[in-house]
Assembly symmetry: D2
Amino acid sequence: MTTVAFIGLGNMGGPMAANLIKAGMTVTVFDLNPAAVQTLTAQGALSAKTACGAAASADVVISMLPAGKHVQSLYLGSEQGTGLLDVVSQNTLLIDCSTIDAATAQLVGQQAAVKGISFMDAPVSGGTAGAAAGTLTFICGGSQDAYSQAQTVLKVMGANIFHAGDVGAGQIAKICNNMLLSVLMVGTSESLQLGIDNGLDPKVLSDIMKVSSGGNWTLEKYNPCPDVMENVPSSNQYQGGFMVDLMVKDLGLSQQTAMASNSSTPMGALARSLYVNHARQGHGKLDFSSIFEQFANQNKK
Amino acid sequence: MTTVAFIGLGNMGGPMAANLIKAGMTVTVFDLNPAAVQTLTAQGALSAKTACGAAASADVVISMLPAGKHVQSLYLGSEQGTGLLDVVSQNTLLIDCSTIDAATAQLVGQQAAVKGISFMDAPVSGGTAGAAAGTLTFICGGSQDAYSQAQTVLKVMGANIFHAGDVGAGQIAKICNNMLLSVLMVGTSESLQLGIDNGLDPKVLSDIMKVSSGGNWTLEKYNPCPDVMENVPSSNQYQGGFMVDLMVKDLGLSQQTAMASNSSTPMGALARSLYVNHARQGHGKLDFSSIFEQFANQNKK
Amino acid sequence: MTTVAFIGLGNMGGPMAANLIKAGMTVTVFDLNPAAVQTLTAQGALSAKTACGAAASADVVISMLPAGKHVQSLYLGSEQGTGLLDVVSQNTLLIDCSTIDAATAQLVGQQAAVKGISFMDAPVSGGTAGAAAGTLTFICGGSQDAYSQAQTVLKVMGANIFHAGDVGAGQIAKICNNMLLSVLMVGTSESLQLGIDNGLDPKVLSDIMKVSSGGNWTLEKYNPCPDVMENVPSSNQYQGGFMVDLMVKDLGLSQQTAMASNSSTPMGALARSLYVNHARQGHGKLDFSSIFEQFANQNKK
Amino acid sequence: MTTVAFIGLGNMGGPMAANLIKAGMTVTVFDLNPAAVQTLTAQGALSAKTACGAAASADVVISMLPAGKHVQSLYLGSEQGTGLLDVVSQNTLLIDCSTIDAATAQLVGQQAAVKGISFMDAPVSGGTAGAAAGTLTFICGGSQDAYSQAQTVLKVMGANIFHAGDVGAGQIAKICNNMLLSVLMVGTSESLQLGIDNGLDPKVLSDIMKVSSGGNWTLEKYNPCPDVMENVPSSNQYQGGFMVDLMVKDLGLSQQTAMASNSSTPMGALARSLYVNHARQGHGKLDFSSIFEQFANQNKK
C-alpha cells in the first residue's frame, strides 16, 4: 500500500490529498495553516509537525506550493530548516505539482539526482473543480521510470497525464500551453467583438468560427462573450473559473522563460500586458475570460 | 433546371464553375481572360461576350473576383459598362463569393434591394483544393429567402454552408474568422518555438497542447512546425496551402473593418504587422504557416 | 489685397478665419451652422449662401472640414450640389487644411490639375489654442509654386510651415508624425509607470530621461504623469489639449494608409488598439496623455 | 589622493580605468583576463591577484561586470571565494557600474548596509566611445552621501551624472530609459518607412517630425534610415554603435523588472520581441538602429 506525504493544502492541494485518502492510501499531510491540516485529518489523514516529518517514511512525496521560492526551500532547505532531500531515502519519489519557473524545478531535480533521488515536476491544470473531481491534467517532467512510478498516485487525482520530457519539461509545457490559451482567449474576444460591432450575433459567429479555421478551445468550452454558452463564467458575471491574477502569474512565468531562452513571444507578451492592465483596473479576481470586457464598448451601455 | 452565370474564372472560380457543370447545371461563364473561358467551355460551359450577356437570362449569378472595386463595377456598372443590376430580372439571385470589404457588399446589396433583386455575399474558405473537391465553406450574408434559395448551387460547390446574417455579414464573419486564424497561427508558432528553445520536442508539446486548453485548429490540422504533421505545408517547405500574401489581404480587410466600426483588435493588428514584415522579407508566396520561421533561431542553423 | 474664402468654421476653422480678418484680408465665410457664420461676420467677415458663392471670386480658398467625404463633395461636387472645381478660376489657390486620408487629397488634386487649378493639402497641428494664437503648424503637400503662393495666408495663421512634397504628402507627413506621437506618449507613459512601480519619483525619472536617449517631445512639453509638469493636461485632470477621440481618428488614418501601401506599423497599430480601448472605456473626451491611466495601478488608489 | 580599485576591464571598464589613471589617481585593477590587466598596468595601474586584494586598501571600489551573478559573487562571495563585503572597511565606497537587474543591486546594497558600508549602483550609457572620451552618463542609486562622495571619480569618467534615488534606482532608471529608447527607435523606423512607402523623402519627413510633436532623440541624434544623417551607424551599414544583442539584454532586464513589479509595458514588450526576432535572423551584432530594416520592403530591392 502506497504511503504518501502531501505538503501544501491550499485550494488545490487540499482536495487533491483528499482524493488520495478516498482511494485508500495512507496520507500524512503538512501545511503551515492548522485549519487546512484539520480539514484533512478529519477526512482520515495523518499529520506531521514538519514537512520533513511527513516525508521521512513516505513512498511518495507530493508538494503543491505557491511559488518557486517555496519549492526550493522545501526540498533544498533554508535558514528556517532542513530540506527534504536531506531526509528522504533513495526509494522515495518526489513529485512537485506546483506551477513554478522551470529553472527552480531543474535546480531541485539536479540536487535530487546528485543524491540518487527521483524528482518529477508535474504542474496541473483543471482548477479547483478538477482537483475536487479528480479530473486534473498533469504535465510531467522527469525520467521515464519516475513517470511510470507516479501513475499510481496521479491517476487517483487526474484524468489526463502527459509526459513532456526531462525534469523541468512539465513546467515548460504548462506555461507554453497557458500562454497559448491566453492568446486564444484574447484573440477570440477581439474577433467576437469585431463581429458584434458590425452587427453580427455573437452566438452565430461563435458557431461558425468554432467549426472553421478559427476553432479553438475557448470557442468550444469557454466562450468569453456573455450569454453565448451556459455554465461558463462569462454567463455568470465572470465569477469562478481561472482568475485573471493567476493568468498574470502564468504569463509572467512564460515571459521569464522566454527571456532565459532568448525567445520571442510577441502575442504572449501582448496578452500579458493586456491582462496586467485588466488586473490593475480592479478585475484580478474575475475569471480570465473577462478580458472580453476590455474590447466591449462601455460608451454604448 | 437551374441556369447559372459564373463571372470570374480564376484559381477558385474555375473549379467552382466546373463543379456546377458536372452537377448538370447550364452554366454560362465570363472572364476577361480567354484561356480561362476556354478551359470551362471545354468542360461544357457556354460563354458570353460580356458579364451582362452571361447574366441576362440566368436564374443565379455567381461572381468570384479579386477585390471590392471589381465587384462594385460588375454589379453597379462603371465608365466601362453597364452593371448587372441594370440587366437582370427580379427573379435572379445574385451571389458574390469574392472576399471583399463588407462596405462594398452592403452597397451592392442596398442598390439591389432598391430594384427588388436578391443579393447575397458568400465568401468562401477551403482554398483551391476545396474548390476542386466541392468541399468549400460558404459564409453567407443575406435574407433567409436568398439563403434558402442559394442552397441548390452552394451545396454543389461546398460542404459547409453558414448563414451569418444580413448582406455583408458573410464578409464580416469571414474576416473575423481569418483574423482569429492568424492569431492562432502566430500564437501557436511562438508557443512551440518557446518549447523548442527550452528543450521540448515539438511533437510532444503539440500533442499535449492539442488536447489541453491551448487546443486550436492549427494544432489539429495545420501544425506550423516542420515534421510534426505529415501532408501539411510546414512539412513541405511551406509550399502550397494559403499564401502569406492572401493572409495579408484578409488581415487588411479585418483592420479596415475594425477602423470603420472603431473596434480594437490588438492581436489581429499585431498579426498583420508580423505577416507584412514576413511578406516584405520575400516570403509572400509561402504558406501562411511559414510565420513559424520568424521565431526560429536562424543563428543556430 | 488678398481675398479669401473660408469654408468650415468649427473649433479650428473659426479662429483661423478670424486671424485672416485681423490681418486685414477680405474674408468670405461659409458654414452650414448659421451661429458659426454669425460669429465671424461679427468680426468683419462677409458671408455667402453657398460654398461656391464664397469661393467664386476669391484669390485663395481655405477649407477646414471633418473628414474626407466632406472635402470630396466640397471640391468635386455631389448630388447636393456643384463642386468648387466647377466655379473657381485657374488663378485661385485651393488649400485644404482638413486632416483626411491622403487618397482623397490626391483625388481632388488630380481633378484640380486636370482643370489647371492649384490645390494643396495643408493639415495643421497645434490645436484650438494654436488656431486662436496664430501659431499653428502647417504641413503642406503641393507644387513648389502653390507652396510659395500660400505663404501669405499660412503665415497669418501659423508659426511653422513645412513642405512635405506633392499633393497628399502633407496628409502623409502629418499622420506619420501623429502616429509617432502616439507611440512616444504610450512608451513614455509605460516607462514612467514602470519607474513609479519600482519606487522612483516620476519627476526625477522624467528629468533623467529627458536629457538622455529616451528624450522625446512628450517629456519635453507634455508629460503624461500628473503633477510632473505645470500647465499641461495631466496636471489638470486631463482636461483640454488633444482629445483621445481625435488621436483615434488620426491613428485610423495612419492604419488606412499603412494598409494601402502594405506597410507594417506594429507600434502604431498597438497604440491605436490601446487608444480605442481607452476611448471605449469612456475616456474619449480626455486629453490623449490620459493613456497614462491605462498603466496606473487602480488597485492601489 | 584617492585610491581606486577597478574590477572588470572589458570594453567599457578598461578605458574607464584608464581615465582615472590619467587623472592622477592610484588605481589597482583586477580582471580574470591577464591581457586586459596588462593593458592597464602599461598605462600606470597597479594590479592585484584577486579582487579582494585590489579592494582591501582602496578608498573607492568600482566594478564593471557583465551580469548580476558576477556582481553578486564579487561582493557577497561564492564557493570560489570571499566577497568584497568581507574585506573592505566602512570607509570604502563601493560603486557598481554594471548594467544588471535591480534586485541584485538591492541585495548587495542591503548586505553592505548591514555592515555599515556604502554601496551605490551607477550604470552607464554612452558606449565605448563615451568610456574612452570620459563623457559617459552615470545614473546613480544610493544615499545622498554616497552620491556626493562619488562625484570625484565619476566626474573623471563621465559628463552627466544623475541621482535617481536609493540603491537599485540607478538600474531601474537606466532600463526605463533604454526601454523607452527602443520604443522611440522602432516607432521612428516604422513611421519613416510608412512615409517612404507613400512617396515621401525620409530626410524631409525627418526634418518635419524632428521639430514637431514626433520629435525624439533618435530623429535628433541617431536617424535609423540610411543616408539621412552623416556619422551615424545607419549611414555605415549599421556598423558600430550599440549592438542589437545589448539592446536585447537591456529589454530583458526591463521585462524582468516589469514582471517583478507586476507592471504592464506593451510597447517595451513588443520592442523586445521585434529585437529578438531581428537578432535571431542573424543581426545581433549590428547597431540597434538596424531594426529599421525589419520594415523596409526587401521585395523592392
